[in-house]
Subunit: 558 residues, 2 copies
């Protein structure tokens, strides 16, 4: 039940306006717009992956509607890190106006630029690092290091005369990170002392009690599993998880194994990460996949994509014996990743397939081979206590996550009225230390399907769900335009419905009779005749088979 939309007032001078376009009430398509003095700053521009009630959709974009008439006012897009849910929609925004500058860390921009290249866009970009300050129109930006499941993530502090805002991006607070790059609590302290007027904070794990375990706790497990593996090892993880891949490379090197990277995105991202110095490949460990196949089984590790059971990814294809590498008895497969809700059945199908082939499958359910990239409740409490923000806007999460995060803020003493539970499109104005909801835009889901952007509507998806659950029956009748008499048909075709069109022999005379009756009464209108066909066959299929397929009547005049 989204809030009823209402227009915000004109933006007053000296006020900062904040409008999240995505990422609230969902995990993905994070994007927030800041407006001051007639200029707009965008923080993040990500995609959301569809759920099962959005069939056939490739990606879901934030609704850019509030930006469309104001593209010239956008001073830049700050990207906090290189995950798809933060950078994936950049190409679609830049298709509206290709010279909007993008700002981010070295790795973040390299990953974004690789993505833009696929869309044949070469962006204006500015690489920044933690500690750096930049002015973009009226916005004074300061970047702060944060720790996440991808290197080089940044939080961003935004200063305007209306106050100081801190947006964390995604983060956690691993106190012994592999690359030594901590979430910079000294910077948080300094900003807290200056006075944070509004804190936009990652809520993904706000309902998880305690603390996210150390990323380095996984290393010994990987080391032990790889060390004891009798034959080949296949590790699947996210293709941007540089630190996870680093731990696999190190474990492989320690046990005299070489590593072959599999999957287009894994190869691309790790090449970028190595080139930029984020991935440290032990001397001679990487090997081309084609050469790897000549090595003895106990000297190879394959590092692949497909940890979410994606049917076209390397791991699923291996499990279906539809890949050059065919797992077998003695092989070890490690799923070093989370299990994103909704993917369970797909992942378990892959685990079963691999088990059936004889492989030993190690996963989150039976070994400590994954930790989250997001701050749990205990870590968030540290943040609130260090920052003591005046106002809090929990972002990045389903409603229950946002609510849990607001409660944590309140537990540290922040007034419930100053913890804002917003939705996508909520308009929040900040001035003189006060943050208030002043409007609600009516935003939708923008679906990407193939090269189509925004043409698939929710009505189309409803049709798809009906078609997918019940199939369709089409009835074609050619009638004489003047007499209304049937010239040809009724032909009845069905797909996704039953094995044999012979079941329709019963109903054809009923349709013909209904049309003849209508013709006799002088009905000539094509639409009216179509409705007669629809009702006749609809009633029959519902009563005789207790089913409700889509019915597509086509009455053609000739």
């Amino acid at each position: 039940m989204p809030t009823t939309p209402y227009d915000p007032p004109e933006l007053e001078a000296g006020t900062l306006r904040i409008v999240p376009l995505g990422g609230l009430g969902e995990v993905g398509r994070n994007m927030t717009v800041f407006e001051y003095g007639g200029k707009l700053l965008v923080v993040d521009c990500g995609v959301l992956f569809p759920e099962e009630h959005q069939p056939g959709v490739d990606l879901i974009l934030p609704d850019f509607e509030p930006l469309k008439k104001r593209l010239d006012d956008i001073v830049g897009v700050v990207l906090t890190h290189g995950h798809e849910d933060h950078i994936g929609a950049v190409p679609y925004l830049l298709k509206l106006k290709s010279d909007i500058p993008i700002i981010g860390s070295g790795l973040t921009l390299a990953l974004t630029e690789a993505k833009l290249k696929e869309h044949r866009i070469k962006p204006y970009s500015l690489t920044v690092a933690e500690g750096q300050r930049e002015n973009l129109g009226p916005f004074e930006l300061e970047f702060v290091a944060v720790n996440h499941s991808i290197p080089d993530a940044l939080a961003v502090a935004i200063r305007t005369p209306a106050g100081l805002v801190l947006a964390t991006g995604d983060f956690k607070m691993d106190q012994l990170p592999l690359d030594g790059r901590l979430t910079d609590l000294r910077a948080f302290s300094r900003l807290g002392e200056e006075g944070v007027d509004l804190f936009l904070v990652d809520s993904t794990n706000a309902d998880v009690p305690g603390f996210t375990p150390l990323e380095r706790s996984i290393g010994p497990v990987l080391d032990q599993v790889i060390g004891k593996a009798p034959r080949r090892v296949i590790v699947a993880s996210f293709s941007s998880h540089v630190h996870r891949v680093q731990q696999v490379l190190d474990a492989a090197a320690a046990h005299g194994r070489r590593v072959a990277l599999l999957g287009r995105s894994m190869l691309r991202n790790m090449t970028i990460a190595e080139d930029l110095g984020y991935l440290h490949v032990p001397e001679g460990v990487l090997i081309d996949y084609k050469k790897a196949r000549d090595l003895p089984d106990d000297q190879i590790v394959y590092m692949s994509t497909g940890s979410q059971g994606e049917p076209m990814a390397v791991l699923s294809r291996m499990a279906n014996l539809d890949h050059a590498i065919e797992p077998g008895p003695g092989d070890t497969v490690i799923l070093a990743s989370s299990l994103i809700p909704g993917n369970e059945n797909a992942v378990y199908r892959v685990i079963d397939g691999l088990t059936k082939l004889g492989a030993n499958v190690v996963h989150k359910g039976n070994a400590k081979v994954h930790v989250s990239g997001h701050a749990a409740a205990g870590e968030l409490l540290y943040c609130y206590n260090i920052l003591k923000p005046k106002n809090v806007l929990p972002v990045h999460g389903e409603y229950r996550h946002l609510m849990a995060n607001a409660r944590l803020a309140q537990d540290t003493g922040i007034d419930p009225e100053r913890t804002i539970l917003a939705e996508n499109g909520t308009v929040i104005d900040l001035k003189d230390g006060g943050a208030h909801v002043v409007g609600q835009y009516d935003l939708g889901f923008v679906y990407v399907d193939g090269s189509t952007v925004g043409e698939i509507t929710d009505a189309d998806l409803k049709d798809r769900r009906i078609l997918g659950e019940e199939g369709f029956i089409s009835v074609i009748v050619v009638v004489d335009a003047s007499t209304g008499k049937i010239i040809s048909g009724p032909e009845v075709h069905a797909r996704g419905f039953a094995e044999d069109d012979a079941v329709f022999e019963d109903v054809k005379p009923k349709i013909a009779a209904a049309l003849a009756e209508a013709a006799k009464s002088g009905v000539r209108d094509q639409h009216a005749l179509s409705q007669i066909v629809r009702r006749t066959i609809g009633r029959w299929v519902n009563q005789s088979l207790r089913r409700r397929p889509m019915i597509v009547p086509l009455v053609i005049e000739a």
Copy 2:
């Protein structure tokens, strides 16, 4: 990759043949056929619930094919307990021959008979209890009490001259069960001393280390949550979980609350359970739902279905404000159930909806409000050590569960060659203490959709998946039968595809041109013309939109 089917030999005299028809490589539709001396005994006859790649399917039945010509040889169907995955397919078997006797405990038969009544079948039935022995043709049956998440579950020992078989049904070994009815390990010991030749054993939780916690560990949690709840309490669980409902009734009574049951199956099952003495309703605690609404908020508990996020069940409807009871701030909702894989997104949608309405949602993720009904690895080890079976056939589970169970058997010293990893349709012969795979039937999925049984094929489901992901485009052209010239059309209609049929204006001339060309070359065949239409529009949609909808060309001669 199912095993290649091959025919078993004729069944030799003195040999027991075992054929699982369902429940192996899947969680559901449990059913096993035993054959001796020309007679057949069936143990369980359940349904499987469809996954997301089986859209629109209501239920999946075991493939009865091997039984169809031998219905007269069936001496009876033993039902181990009253869950859908053990009794749900009985009506469909009895539709083939309605006088096959069914045998089970009081509660099991009552639930089965209620189901059969909906199908207007009144069965021949025989109620049995633990300790009881019955002869059915050549099969000497002995029933043994087991503990499970429904009362009155039974294991069954089957004696024939070929040896002694023990089938557990579903079970766990709660050592302090609420009703005091333990899994009878004394009986297991006695059978073990007699010598169990083949042990068919529940694998559902074989890959879960340790022991399933006590059902009664939930009571204090429910008591505490209900005791502290400021307003209404809504508890959702499985409609057959008598003990869980019992604990809710007790907690409600302890805190001066009354309980209203919601949902057709909840009402039906609990009425049966109370009538048969399995549910002990504290004096005056139950109240009709309509009267409950007049009570003060802090004196009511609603007990409902819908714990798996089923869209039509009470809980989802409440979350969507589509039910007379509208949850709000201060209300407490308890999901006292497991989260079945594949249902995560649906359940989280319900949790989010309820949270957004202001309710406090207590679930497995944040409180100890559910324990499993199946024996974990530690419990299974006890069974193997007490029974010391000669041969083991793990049943009830995905392949990884069967495999984990076989490994447990091997850990207790059973020869790997005597732990049989079978599939549905595997034919196993038992004689002289030896169990051997001798054949493999080629079995399929039998889909129920509406009143249609077995007519939906895998090809229909593939069509549904394409339709559901991509929609369809139909092209209708009426041509002159003799000249091949277009009389009417092409008309192009699409559903689930794009918002506006105007996108097809581009392609219509291309179709007309392709057909004109074909007519010129003398092509008249309707099928050939249809293929030309399909190719023309298929190429266009793929190249211009990068999509692959189903294409339905209809060339009509007039």
